[in-house]
Symmetry: C2
């Protein structure tokens, strides 16, 4: 599956979330990661994030697509980490 | 089409971006809007955002899906504005 993860995390935990997600996905905007994941990787990601965050203060949305091709990406302004360049 | 818009905007312009996007979409996380849009609404949104942002300092990613059903949404922690409640 293809994941887009957007987060709004209190400053004291945000670096922990970033380092964790970097193990699995690409960092493509300040609070956005993207990438391909298997079902078992997805489970590791979701449970790892649940362990890190404070559910009363932080918010994470995980969008799951069957395939990256299910969406088109349009970027306005700065392209922080051009994912097309990596792939 | 269904849009997911994530942004990283300098503080001096972020409220302008928010008020603009509120005209068309739902605010669902600090820097994330979502919603259905026609092709012509999409064009208005993209050109309106281009007018507001500084392309050297701000970054916006627009994910376009054919249908909302093309993705599944998983929320961890705070659900800022429960979109299911609105629809």
């Amino acid at each position: 599956m293809y994941l887009i993860i957007v987060y709004d995390i209190k400053v004291e935990r945000v670096n922990k979330v970033k380092s964790f997600l970097r193990q699995y996905l690409y960092w493509i905007q300040n609070s956005v990661f993207e990438g391909e994941a298997t079902k078992s990787e997805y489970n590791l990601i979701a449970s790892g994030l649940n362990d890190i965050i404070n559910i009363n203060e932080d918010s994470i949305i995980i969008y799951k697509l069957r395939l990256e091709e299910a969406m088109q990406r349009e970027i306005l302004g700065i392209e922080k980490s051009p994912i097309e360049g990596i792939l």
